[in-house]
Symmetry: C2
Subunit: 201 residues, 2 copies
DNA sequence: TGCATTTCTGCACCACATGCAATTCGTGCG
DNA sequence: CGCACGAATTGCATGTGGTGCAGAAATGCA
């Protein structure tokens, strides 16, 4: 029962995101005003702000969805698995912000996260929020193994290692294919987390 | 040879920070304008912006200094020590942003980091910058033991664990003394990093 | 078609932030 | 001591992000 209203809403939302994406590429982020984006999407400036609360939000249209997926995945794994692999799998589905290296949109995001302070702050905020959400989920999934503080610390270590590695990989891997990047990232994270899963060589 | 000019500059800088601190407490962050702070410090609004580029900066007047100290400490330790304890000591001197739990100013900062999105982004940005700076320093200090990616991942894990633990401790430890908080924080971080330093129990 | 409700829009408004030119103020020199 | 140079301060204009509000338009429903 998708009403006309709902369809239209989804349509203008996409138009806004697409217009923002295009204009950011053409003119740069700082040089593009929200009014420009709204005009390009055929909508008033005021309306653009009802769809996306801030200019930065136009760059992260679907982040909440991803975190929710990761938390769900982690909670389903629950007890029938070791926590670290479960985390790995959960986070693979939730590569937000710095960790997100796939697709064209992501490339633009990564570039802007480095250049624009406001976007950088926005992305880091999302990452931190995701981190605490996943930490809580981990504690709920393995209540007797991890206290809230321990869970938070473990997820913090994991996310910290992952995003640091992702940033380093992104910096040094200009011409790589998507698959190669993913492999390098996974290898680096696995390497950093080796002490948790295996014996030190 | 501290000229009158230098003295005055340092004095108004302090007045700005103090006025901001006081007004933020009295009226709240969002309700205080930079113009208010400037007026309270006896200076024009325009001048306030030459001392601090953004409103958020008024809350973190000395962060750069701390990072520099931590990097220096890490580089001096260089080869004559194990990296993890060196990191621990270096980071103890550089408890920025979320990790910073000591003193009145810090309490205000922690509260605002949780409440105000803009401040939150600002603090996280500083933390991330510090993280990469320390990662680079670690790689330079132990070149054959850690590649740039490995160093970044290790520091990322460390900082991630530390700030996650700090946030959890701050959340749950309302009536603790400063010493108790420090102990709880150190214990949590040590616990999270145990796999790197000792055998798993 | 006609009514109720949601959505869009224009308008006024405020605060953050920056650039520029005029002015004031500290500093060093003759 | 006074003067000239450079640095800091200031006011002013401007642009942009973001919000509240009230009326107009579009949509769902009978």
């Amino acid at each position: 029962m998708t009403g006309l209203r709902e369809q239209k809403r989804e349509r203008t939302r996409r138009q806004l995101v697409d217009a923002a994406d295009r204009l950011f590429r053409e003119r740069g982020y700082a040089e593009t005003t929200v009014a420009d984006i709204a005009a390009a999407a055929g909508v008033s400036t005021r309306t653009a702000f009802t769809y996306f609360a801030t200019k930065d939000d136009l760059l992260f249209p679907d982040a909440d969805e991803r975190v929710r997926l990761a938390v769900d995945a982690l909670e389903q794994r629950a007890g029938d698995d070791e926590p670290i692999p479960a985390l790995l799998r959960a986070l693979q589905g939730a590569d937000i912000a710095v960790t997100d290296l796939i697709g064209d949109r992501a490339a633009l995001r990564v570039a802007l996260v480095e250049r624009e302070p406001s976007v950088r702050g926005h992305a880091l905020r999302r990452l931190a929020d995701a981190q605490t959400a996943i930490g809580d989920a981990l504690h709920r999934a393995y209540p007797d193994r991890y206290s809230p503080v321990q869970a938070a610390a473990l997820v913090g270590a994991f996310v910290g290692a992952a995003s640091a590695a992702a940033a380093a990989v992104a910096r040094e891997a200009e011409g790589m294919t998507e698959a190669q990047r993913h492999a390098a990232l996974t290898a680096a994270v696995g390497d950093a987390l080796a002490p948790w899963t295996t014996e030190r060589t």
